[in-house]
Subunit: 411 residues, 2 copies
């Protein structure tokens, strides 16, 4: 493992200093290579698929694992799109001249070696490799066991392009030991790896956060809320809350709980119930809610649960302060929204709620790299530092200070 | 511990949302309070001093521990200076409108609760408390055992000002259990603490990095180099390298090793030896160096040692690539400098060397919040992410996205 990571680290100096032109040429060749080796990739994917069927994986998982000609084409197109993004390295983030006449530039640079731990979908392998390469980083990928053949085939195709361009193939590495022990070893190698990005279940993320000696950017759960203020515009309410809950209940940016100001509740709650029932949503309510509509009583635990399903808690609150306090206690700092036409109330909510994305009068479903306009997405960070919320390619860079002197010494 | 930290966390919502005017008023009152309670603080410091003498602490440590009227005045002035810095919270870091018409603002916000672990000098208590307060953060301070009475007295004076202003005194907290076990517990409380900043010996920093489940910003060692290129301007060399080594050898931004291009070595090495001997510097040299001057042979270990003393390694290299490779292997990513008048060589060095601060034709001693023009310094981060190099008050903030909508739902 150490020798392997040392090689990865060594190659990072070459990759970090490639020109935009070279990086884009290589990425477009990678896209071509995926298309040219489509059959090769699909034949390896078939091995994963038949093993998965033997292991009785569910239909949803099988579908996530499956590669088809169209899906390989999508992977190739995603790489071309990443190639077309603006160069993330070498941006001048800040700059000034000191009283001693030193000219200081704060410049974006690649992070170095990034370890990424993820599950099932094989397209993550090519997306992530391309995002890391475009941002001048070396990646060490640890995909899911169930996609092992597919991931190896994809990596092999991408690495061949690196070799053909006389670039170190270690720049796209698959972790040789893909067991849990392999992960446990990887996250202690702070000498060689600069960042770990775990994407997956809560247990994996907890394990990595608690045991890593390398900085971790988590993609943790989203317990999200919409607060309907007493001054909400009636015409907007139902569309927004239905979208935030029902458009894709399995997404982390879908809401778990609707908080409703007690003054407006009597006027809207029956309409809300009808709209959600039509969408097949299972509703749970606080004691106050149960006075208006007959739904399942919500337990305290319900308010701390990320449903990832078409289930919604409703809670009636006395005022915005109770709403914010509820969010701070039960929210996961992901995405929170207020519906209100009151200027002061909206500003209070946006200022006081501590979450990656705080919305006024919009669905929480917009927390997403694409919807934010950041281009291809690395993920959605639930970290509070370095990167927060939708992670674009710029989040795969850090910075250094370049200091241009002319003989200065310190007094 | 948990109840204590829960209180700290709770108070962070109040502190995060204070106006600049209130924060500055409170800070200036804190400065006044330190002056008014100078005798009280000094009397508690005397307890620490007599215990330290009983424990036979060295003269240097005793001096670091000592508080005098002048030093308390300096502490007060430091707080006033922090009050006068530009507001770090609420800066709009970026902003755009998405294709759906969402108005997105990336806004700086306080980090939340910051645990700071430090040693001996009691002024760190007031400096750090003020920096955290100005940036809207709650601090949990864990000072050195040897300064316990002084730290308690200083914190008491500062907290009294909070109470008088009806602010939660938990905003400036001292860790109740200041033992190693207390630290071990603190760094696992990721539910309440958002960031840990350890400042101290290597063992402490290693322990914290390896065991913390909270993000850590390290203030680790500096193994720094100056590379004298064959195209260095002869007139600048001696002043810069003497400054970088001898002005304050105990500083982390002082150099450990001088790398000299083999073409220029014969012309400058005797002059360098004379200049360093005059400064009392102990010189060690590589085999090539020993051909020119009689100094102690440098071992491989010497190149990995942060001396914090007036000792210098000299190594002669074939070219800039050997210099960069040496720096990448032995440097700690802190501060690295090249002396050269060659445009291409300078650019290559500044681009390829991966360190927080890379210099051309200047002393590495400028890596410092004050010298960088960042104002009062939190420390010098040897992290690669979130904060790197001299940490100013802005580094005590993170960000969130405020998204202003007008009824948008996602398609």
């Amino acid at each position: 493992m150490q020798a392997f990571l040392e090689e990865a680290k060594k190659s990072s100096r070459t990759i970090a200093n490639l020109s935009t032109a070279v990086k884009n040429k290589v990425l477009n060749e990678m896209a071509d290579a995926l298309m040219n080796h489509c059959d090769f990739i699909i034949s390896h994917n078939e091995k994963d698929m038949s093993e998965a069927r033997l292991n009785n994986l569910g239909e949803a998982l099988l579908d996530r694992l499956l590669l088809t000609g169209d899906r390989v084409k999508d992977m190739a197109n995603a790489i071309r799109q990443i190639a077309s993004q603006a160069e993330p390295v070498g941006r001048i983030l800040d700059g000034w001249v000191t009283k001693d006449g030193l000219n200081i530039q704060k410049v974006s640079i690649p992070i170095g070696v990034i370890g990424i731990i993820y599950e099932s979908r094989p397209n993550v392998t090519s997306d992530t490799a391309a995002l890391c390469f475009k941002s001048g980083n070396v990646c060490v990928l640890k995909g899911g066991k169930e996609a092992e053949h597919s991931n190896k085939a994809i990596a092999m195709v991408l690495r061949e392009v690196l070799t053909k361009n006389r670039l170190p193939e270690q720049a796209i590495s698959l972790l040789p030991d893909s067991s849990r022990e392999g992960v446990a070893k990887l996250i202690k190698q702070d000498k060689y790896v600069d960042l770990i990005v775990p994407r997956g279940g809560e247990a994996l993320i907890r394990f990595v956060s608690e045991n890593s000696s390398i900085p971790v950017i988590k993609h943790d759960k989203g317990i999200c809320h919409i607060y309907i203020d007493k001054d909400a515009a009636a015409a907007k309410i139902i569309d927004i809350v239905i979208n935030a809950k029902c458009q894709r209940p399995s997404a982390c940016n879908s809401i778990e709980t609707l908080l409703i100001h007690e003054d407006i509740a009597p006027y809207i709650i029956n309409g809300l119930e009808d709209a959600f029932l039509e969408m097949g949503t299972i509703l749970k309510g606080c004691a106050e809610t149960l006075k208006y509509i007959k739904v399942i009583p919500a337990t305290l635990e319900d308010f701390d649960t990320e449903y990832l399903a078409n289930i919604l808690n409703i809670k009636i609150v006395k005022n915005i302060d109770e709403a914010i306090t509820h969010i701070q206690r039960h929210g996961s700092g992901h995405s929170e929204s207020i519906l209100s036409e009151n200027y002061t109330t909206v500003n209070k909510f946006l200022s006081e709620v501590d979450a990656a994305c705080v919305y006024a009068n919009a669905s929480t479903r917009f927390t997403d790299g694409g919807a934010f306009g950041l281009g291809a997405e690395v993920g959605i960070s639930t970290n509070k530092l370095h990167s927060r919320g939708p992670m674009g390619i710029n989040d795969l860079t850090t910075f250094k200070y370049k200091v241009y002197g002319s003989g200065q010494i310190r007094n």
